[in-house]
Amino acid sequence: MTTCRNNGSAARLSACHITKSFDGVTILDDVSIHLNEREIVSLLGVSGGGKTTLFNVISGLMKPDSGQVFLNGNEVTGQAGQISYMLQKDLLLPYDSVVDNVALPLLIRGAKKEEARAQAAAHFEEFGLAGMEYKYPSQLSGGMRQRAALLRTYLFSDQVALLDEPFSALDTITKGEIHRWYLDVMDRIHLSTLFITHDIDEAILLSDRVYILAGRPGRIAAEIAIDRARPRDREFTLSEEFLRYKRQILESMGMETKK
């Protein structure tokens, strides 16, 4: 079980003893997770298991029934606009050019349009979006759209990001490409990331630690550290080590594996 770390600890982000119910049904029961500086941590669980609810609480869109959220040691429970959040859909606005979409968090913070555009455009190269500035989202492929959405998330906060199944809508090949790109970018931009996934392989490949949210109501069933240096290549996904992690995760999710 995770110990709750708040003031005085090194954790960038921590959610402590979060409990949340809807209409008398408890969705999350005493869930505590934390995210350290520069870490990529994934939250793995079955659909409808309360993962998105936890993210809504952490991002401040929802208030928990009990429990607290800390960002850099300061309490931010129920305060929206502190932690960047990328939702399941890319949610690029169809009526704005890609650069204006990406610059949205800067505009919200009060930047002038030209400033915001320039600041956003400066990152296009790094995110593999060069030349796409004045295209509309409908002209971009699925992978490109996810990159743009991630850049928008990054421009909101270059410290902590919550990603809710960011790559789940992509086909396997695009997914593989974007995983490699993602790990590469993450090494350069030092964003601490907490992401939701229901894809076990994705969780092992991308994360430093994996939390398993299981049961009804949802509880943290296990916390598994993936001790493999990044960047990780495709070989890793085919290794014995990888399979051991996979077995460990499946078992802690309550799924029997044949020995």
Partner: protein, 261 residues
């Protein structure tokens, strides 16, 4: 290739039908099947249209001014009320039924009252145009605001956006599609509204001209005005289309066959 052929057909087909109707009509008139005092031939209508062109242009100017003033006022009012109704739920619940009720009052019934209250000038016409255009515009905007993507709004909230920023970036922009379909309807309503209110008395305008030529049984001129009104309405709708394309370039991307990157 096929698409091109499709496009040609969709343009040519209606033209064929219209020409056929006009030819039949002309034949019916010239052979004396229908007497000229009941239904003037297309050629005599066109002649009337040409002969009266300067006079018609003058009257059209009055009607267009009234329509334009009324329509633009209605647009502003629609944006303000729809915006307020979206912001304050109580206001929406209170005002919406009233809006529907006002829409059931027949235009022809209020027009004489407006003349009574506001005189023979331009004012009652503009007010009538406002009354006819305001409702479809407001409803289309309200629908647009209500249909804005909830997830996009949540994303904006997570980014710490204010209500106004959410309104501006999400609700307003995503309702443009709805707004333009409302505007297309309203543009033709505006002309018809102005003409109807001119029937009931006024100093100029196509409606005034219409009542005059009707009283002198100049049916060719009567038809000439009707044609002109149709033409103006169509031109206005076309203008709305152009405006829509200018305002929403993203909507027309796929039609241009642009590739995805």
């Amino acid at each position: 290739m096929n698409k091109k052929a499709d496009r040609v057909i969709s343009k040519v087909a209606p033209l064929c039908l219209i020409s056929a109707i006009l030819i039949l009509w002309q034949i019916a008139s010239s052979t004396g099947l229908v007497p000229g005092y009941m239904l003037p031939s297309p050629i005599s209508v066109v002649k009337a249209l040409i002969n009266d062109a300067p006079l018609l242009a003058d009257h059209a100017k009055t009607t267009l001014t009234e329509s334009f003033l009324g329509l633009s006022t209605a647009i502003v009012m629609a944006f303000v009320t729809a915006g307020l109704m979206d912001r304050y739920l109580f206001l929406e619940k209170a005002v919406y039924p009233l809006l529907v009720v006002t829409q059931t009052v027949p235009t022809v019934a209020i027009a004489p009252l407006l003349v009574l209250w506001l005189g023979y000038g331009i004012a009652p016409k503009v007010v009538l145009v406002i009354l006819t255009c305001y409702f479809p515009l407001t409803i289309s905007l309200l629908t647009g605001f209500a249909n804005a993507d909830k997830d996009a709004i949540n994303l904006m909230r997570a980014m710490g956006a204010t209500r106004w920023q959410i309104f501006w970036h999400i609700k307003l922009k995503s309702s443009m599609n709805q707004f333009f379909s409302g505007l297309r309807v309203s543009a033709s309503y505006a002309i018809v509204g102005a003409v109807i209110s001119e029937w009931l008395g006024g100093l100029g305008g196509l409606g005034v001209y219409m009542t005059r030529v009707k009283k002198s049984f100049a049916f060719d001129k009567m038809f000439a005005v009707i044609f002109l009104i149709c033409f103006i309405s169509l031109a206005l709708m076309k203008l709305v289309d152009l405006l829509e394309k200018k305002t929403m370039p993203w909507k027309y991307l796929k039609e241009n066959g642009e590739e995805r990157y």
